[in-house]
Symmetry: C2
């Protein structure tokens, strides 16, 4: 495996903006057999970029810079790379061809500032920008491949895939050729990080030469399995398969699923709302949601999925008791007797929203998001989730209610409650899917 | 101003998790007169941490490491700092005092792994952890102050404020003493980055020795004004004030407000939902929201504010036309005639939700979030926002409707539409607040 390093350029990344390109790049480089070992962020300062690049190029096989390629005066990645490598900047017409053509179609010509983007260190290859105007470039220097990509995420991503990846594959020194890093992500909800750690110890992941990572967030704990290796050139097909990192990962995923499969709701880039939406769409079921403490977050998440209007009929955020009565038919005496945050009201909300909207499934949440409003009997973080389903005229009504006690900030409790509600729906869909 | 550098430790930060601590730390260090010039991320690898620390300590006055202080075997920041500085690790009972006390209260004693957290490089001071178990530490080495904080954001933040800040102030070498970096953020909506750039050029920010940064997001463009300097020791009070960075910033903020004030909706850490909620609460007004394409995002944002139940009565996410008819009273023939995404339906939704919920203000959004569902007449990104208000029995009904054309992904269009709706409400509150 080759050693990689990412340098993100931009003063705003030091002060107030999260750097996001490096996560995508680390994945993409990993698939090309380059393991990212260091990432750094520097401001729009030529000397600082030079310093970062010198440090990086001494210890890495591949260095990818992002940002600082725009037309304005503070964009100085081009000059910094030229200075660090001792090359001169040359104007390459090829570098600005795409931009010139695009502007010409609108009857315009590039400004002198835009033309500066055609300056590329001598000996470097241009990396075409399929979605924006700033070209990138890459060059070999002292056994290291140095590449410069734009800072705009969509441009960096496209340029990496279409222009940089082939260069890295062509460059790969002999010792790293054919090696690659593969990763599988499994997303769990309802089991703690330490319980997962204990239960996965017995699966033998380290023994299989894989790396296990756990990462907790309000949406649950994500299991990351990483393998690194190359296809074996053994003539024995069994040994070939054993060496293949993708094959070893697949075996480990099966073992993990066998051990804690009920907690896994999604894999890879998939989300809870996507998994649930796909099930609803496939089975032609419709959904309505009655939210209280989550305030619309469940609706927001469900509608992040394109095409969700096929199964989501409506969402009622009933912050007031009056709204719970008007829209969900929750009786005022019930709320007075047991309180708005109770299993009984969650049950009534789920049934009410289903009947009022004439859909197959009603989902409800009521709870105390905090930071105020808790009592010793009903503390901040107490959440009830309800589900009510009736899929045909003659089918029996099903009703489920579950209690949770979450901790954390208001935002975390809202996230956890939304995840708990969607997970209850997922489990119900799973249980009834076979019948 | 002293030079600062942040090193975040954790393999997950290289692969799949955004590093967030450094933004808070950069702000906090800035206020202490330390400008963060480099940030880097390294995995849980002792040699890599040593390499990063050596590079950093050669060029910075203050180096802050975060992460790698936990009790597990892959936490190796303690060893790395000891190795890089040539110090031995010593067990300091003081370092684990807090943890021992907390565990004792539950009738437990620390495990050997937890006791490892008491190992601190010789000569280092312990930084107490007010909210967790891992202690931090800091030491002086070759003219550089090196500090290690935990990776958990809440712990890093509290330890920085309560334990590290006093050490940095006490350490400040003579040349940096008393200097500080101050920053003001102004959040705008409805004006493009390039228009802001043009209009702010004439305000003379650079001439006043301030730095201007613009940062665009789906929620608008944020203006960052940065000043750096120290209080003058001149006996002339006018000159003293002129040199003071806070004073210079205040003047610049006034000039910016004069030039583009109508676009500014919030300052500092404040959000649109906080600003709008504060106005509603102060004036005793109540709100109900009818969402379509935003899917619950407006409700989610409004309910992020503690105490929002005082003014938010309910939110109806009406994805189906049936829901728009049942809950908002939007006539089916109107939808058939002009379509659900139209100014007329936005107007009807806002009026409908206000009357049905008996609140002072109804707010509505209808639009096409994409990626599918657009037509040449009604493209993806077309959004209508409506507002209907009637604050007393005898007051006149006010009605506003506005059309927007947004671009971007489904998620970006939802964010922009939610911001446009809340901004319309903000502007209406502003306009009517004086009467």
């Amino acid at each position: 495996v080759q050693r990689g390093e990412i340098i993100a350029v931009g003063s705003e990344l030091l002060e107030r903006r999260l750097e996001t390109n490096s996560l995508f790049l680390a994945d993409e480089l990993g698939a090309l057999g380059v393991e990212v070992r260091f990432k750094s962020v520097v401001g729009d300062d030529e000397a600082d970029i030079v310093a970062a690049l010198r440090t990086a190029s001494r210890r890495a096989d591949v260095v990818v810079l992002t940002g600082g390629l725009g037309p304005t005066a503070d964009d100085c990645t081009r000059q910094a790379v030229a200075r660090a490598t001792g090359k001169r900047l040359r104007r390459l017409p090829e570098a600005v061809e795409g931009m010139v053509r695009r502007l010409a179609a609108w009857g315009r010509t590039p400004t002198p500032a835009q033309f500066r983007q055609g300056l590329i260190p001598a000996g470097a290859d241009v990396l075409a920008n399929p979605v924006g105007s700033a070209p990138g470039f890459c060059l070999r220097w002292h056994g290291c491949l140095i590449a410069a990509l734009p800072g705009v995420p969509a441009e960096a991503e496209q340029m990496c895939i279409t222009a940089l990846a082939p260069k890295i594959l062509a460059y790969a020194p002999a010792h790293g050729r054919g090696e690659r890093i593969e990763r599988r992500l499994l997303h769990t909800f309802g089991i703690s990080e330490s319980d997962l750690d204990l239960r996965l110890k017995e699966v033998g992941i380290a023994e299989a030469g894989l790396r296990l990572g756990l990462q907790a967030s309000p949406l649950g704990v994500t299991i990351a399995l990483t393998a690194c290796g190359r296809r074996s050139h053994s003539i024995d097909p069994a040994r070939q398969r054993q060496a293949d990192p993708a094959h070893r990962l697949e075996l480990a995923v099966q073992l993990v699923k066998k051990e804690i499969g009920t907690y896994i709701y999604a894999a890879g880039n998939e989300t809870m709302e996507l998994v649930v939406g796909r099930q609803l769409a496939a089975r032609g079921l419709t959904l309505a949601v009655a939210e209280s403490c989550t305030g619309g977050l469940i609706g927001h998440r469900l509608t992040q999925i394109p095409g969700s209007s096929a199964y989501l009929d409506r969402v009622a955020v009933c912050y007031s008791n009056r709204a719970k009565r008007d829209w969900l038919g929750v009786p005022a005496p019930l709320i007075r007797r047991v309180g708005a945050v109770s299993a009984e009201v969650a049950t009534a909300m789920a049934g009410g929203i289903r009947r009022k909207s004439r859909v197959s499934i009603g989902l409800s949440v009521t709870g105390i998001a905090g930071p105020d409003g808790g009592t010793p009997q009903k503390p901040v973080g107490l959440v009830y989730v309800g589900l009510n389903a009736k899929s045909g005229r003659r089918s029996r009504e099903a009703s489920l209610t579950k209690e949770f006690r979450f901790h954390g900030t208001r935002e975390m409790i809202k996230l956890r409650a939304s995840q708990a509600a969607l997970n209850l729906l997922r489990q119900w869909l799973l249980k009834t899917g076979g019948s």
